[in-house]
């Protein structure tokens, strides 16, 4: 009983059934979502026979091995692949955030011809998957001599992430009180400074949300690296892992170890952004 009161001090016992069912659903979802990751991590520390004998078992004294990690770190350019992934992800997310915030601000704050059309195009961008245009994107990149460069990937990912970013950020820009920008205009602040000194800091929580949304698909993407940048020097981590997946033999130790290590950077990035998710920044601006 004490435990229940500690967990739900304000709700009390009457809310107990509801609370239990909500938590059960959330718990079930968490287990389903985490299960594959857990299997990957556990098995990356086991030898090959143990992986197939007992895929769900924890590594024991006998089956524990770091051979997969050794393979990955010694036999492949794991450092380079991670670096490529990191560069592409950070550049793309950074530019999506900056351009997305600017577009969201412009589209909600200023009245100009074509405003509605541009908003509409962004909305279309959310609905139409960018992969439908793969062929034309490839031929475009060939014409621009951008094949096998990270630039190609960054450009495509910006296009992929921008529509949703603009959509979400527009909603947040609308919640910023108009008086703030008007006060700044009376303070003779230029439109650029208004954006960078007032709007951008207030958009931080929203931008963290967008960053998380944008970052994960880019980090995990296999499609565009495979098509646009399959060269040895531009491989991203998801593509790099594929070299252990053979047509006849798959080096499961290495695949699982590489995947385990690939989780780490994205976890770090997520932790950084999720700190910013804290709301309540605008409280106190206007009553």
């Amino acid at each position: 009983m004490k435990l229940i009161h500690r967990l739900m001090p304000s709700n009390g016992l009457r809310q107990l059934p509801k609370s239990v069912s909500v938590h059960a659903v959330l718990l079930a979802y968490t287990i389903i979502a985490l299960f594959p990751i857990l299997v990957v991590v556990i098995n990356s520390f086991k030898d090959r026979r143990a992986i197939f004998r007992d895929p769900l078992g924890l590594p024991t004294h006998d089956s524990f091995t770091l051979v997969g990690f050794q393979q990955v770190l010694l036999r492949s350019d794991f450092g380079l692949y991670s670096w490529n992934s990191l560069v592409v992800t950070i550049l793309a997310v950074g530019l999506v955030l900056l351009l997305g915030a600017m577009a969201a601000w412009a589209l909600t704050e200023y009245k100009f011809k074509g405003n509605l059309l541009i908003t509409f195009l962004f909305a279309m961008g959310i609905m139409i998957p960018i992969r439908l245009g793969t062929v034309s994107i490839l031929s475009l990149m060939v014409d621009l001599h951008l094949v096998n460069t990270l630039t190609a990937l960054v450009l495509v990912y910006i296009a992929q992430g921008l529509p949703l970013a603009v959509y979400i950020l527009s909603e947040f820009v609308r919640t910023i009180p108009k008086e703030l920008t008007e006060a700044a205009r009376c303070d003779s602040v230029s439109e650029y400074k208004i954006f960078f000194c007032i709007i951008l800091p207030l958009l931080k929580p929203a931008m963290a949300t967008v960053a998380v949304f944008t970052m994960i698909p880019i980090w995990n993407d296999l499609w565009f690296p495979l098509i646009l940048a399959p060269g040895e020097s531009t491989r991203t981590i998801t593509l790099g892992v594929q070299q252990f997946v053979g047509q006849y033999v798959t080096d499961w130790n290495s695949v699982l170890s590489a995947l385990t290590m690939a989780i780490v950077p994205v976890l770090i990035l997520y932790t950084i952004f999720s700190r910013q998710l804290i709301r309540g920044l605008t409280s106190g601006a206007v009553k």
């Binding site: 009180p177 008086e179 703030l180 008007e182 006060a183 700044a184 205009r185 009376c186 303070d187 003779s188 602040v189 230029s190 400074k193 000194c197 007032i198 800091p201 207030l202 920044l281 605008t282 409280s283 106190g284 601006a285 206007v286 009553k287």
Partner: protein, 371 residues
């Protein structure tokens, strides 16, 4: 500091006319209050003055310079918003210094200015707090401070006190009055609160449906409202209105007959009207006296509101409806009492069927609470 001149200012939103040609002269150092019901265009007018909204037609001069189309900054105005509009991510000092810093003033000058303004407003101990850590009154001061540091030609206030609680509002009102005397600044102030308007304004502009109804000094509006709208707007509780017909049109001693047949004598010039014309008789609650034997009424008290030093009596006088009386606080009447009261002919107001006021003769100048 500067003078402001409005010449036939009009504003349209699409096809809707919001302001129908406003003319106004504001002298250097004057405290002008724009007052009116919500939606009358007073806030829109302020935004036109600030430059946040474009003027559709007409000319706006600040210090004899036409400033139509200029940005807010170039007009030399500073605005204090109803919602304070403090930058939430900056502390008080940065909030006040932001505008100065942006305009490229050197650091020591900015510091000096901000600290001087903060001392004036007694917020110098709050400089490193964030807006969310301040009370409503303190935020209001910071907003005013942010305006002061820029040494603007004209201050614009958009209902600055309406978010404060009652006691703080009175206190801040007094401080604003003192601040105006100290700064000798030209201030244009929008409010819907007639007490704020009466106490603060050198000049009050009463607005109604996008037009200026009357401009004048506070007591001028109180004693000589030009229209029924102004008469109803200025004074609390509201002026009582009774419908009647002119029985005797005269340049001095007019007579009005009410619906019940009661004849009222009023020292008002009705020579422009004909006998039988419909008129509205205006009686201020503070001018109706219990011991007055002229123009007497009789009625039943339906409600008493005690405010301490005085009380409001709501009296049902039969066919004419209900009248409000302002009486002394120690008055012993109770609901249900029959009472008799009257009003002197030179205390009355009279409005023709268009709501225009007729000239009062020997109008009593000082409002008094009759005993």
């Amino acid at each position: 500091m500067a003078s402001v001149k409005l010449n036939n200012i009009k504003k349209r939103f699409g096809n809707v006319d919001v302001l129908h040609g406003i003319d106004l002269d504001i002298k250097d150092g004057e405290f002008v209050v724009l007052i009116g019901e919500s939606g009358c265009g007073k806030s829109t007018l302020l935004r036109l003055l600030s430059g946040l909204e474009d003027i559709s037609e007409g000319d706006l001069y600040i210090d004899d310079e036409r400033v139509n189309g200029r940005s807010p900054a170039k007009r030399g105005i500073a605005m204090v918003f109803q919602s304070y509009a403090l930058y939430p991510h900056m502390n008080v000092f940065k909030n006040m210094a932001f505008g100065l810093k942006i305009s490229g003033k050197d650091k020591s000058h900015v510091n000096e200015k901000v600290i001087e303004a903060a001392k004036k407003l007694k917020i110098d101990h709050l400089l490193d707090r964030l807006p969310r850590e301040l009370s409503g009154g303190q935020r209001q001061r910071v907003a005013i401070g942010r305006a002061i540091v820029r040494d603007p030609k004209v201050f614009l206030f958009d209902e600055p006190l309406s978010n404060l609680d009652a006691s703080l509002r009175v206190q801040t009102r007094v401080e604003l009055g003192k601040l105006h005397q100290e700064l000798k600044a030209t201030i244009i102030y929008v409010t819907h609160d007639q007490v704020e308007a009466m106490t603060l304004g050198d000049k009050i502009v009463v607005m109604n449906k996008g037009r200026v109804e009357q401009v004048g000094a506070p007591l001028d509006l109180y004693h000589h409202p030009k229209t029924q709208f102004v008469a109803a707007f200025i004074g609390s509780p509201k002026m009582n209105f009774l419908q009647g017909k002119v029985q005797q049109a005269d340049s001095e001693n007019s007579q009005v007959v009410l619906e019940s047949g009661r004849v009222i004598r009023a020292s008002i010039d009705t020579s422009s009207l004909n006998e039988g014309d419909t008129v509205q008789l205006g009686l201020r609650p503070e001018h109706i006296a219990l011991n007055c034997s002229e123009n007497t009424f009789e009625g039943t008290v339906t409600l008493i509101e005690h405010l301490g030093e005085l009380s409001y009596l709501y009296v049902d006088v039969g066919q004419e409806g209900e009248l409000v009386l302002k009486v002394n606080g120690d008055n012993q009447h109770q609901a249900g009492d029959r009472i008799q009261f009257g009003i002197k002919p030179n205390y009355l107001y009279l409005f023709d069927h268009e709501g225009k006021a007729l000239t009062r003769i020997n109008a009593h100048q000082s409002p008094s609470i009759p005993l």
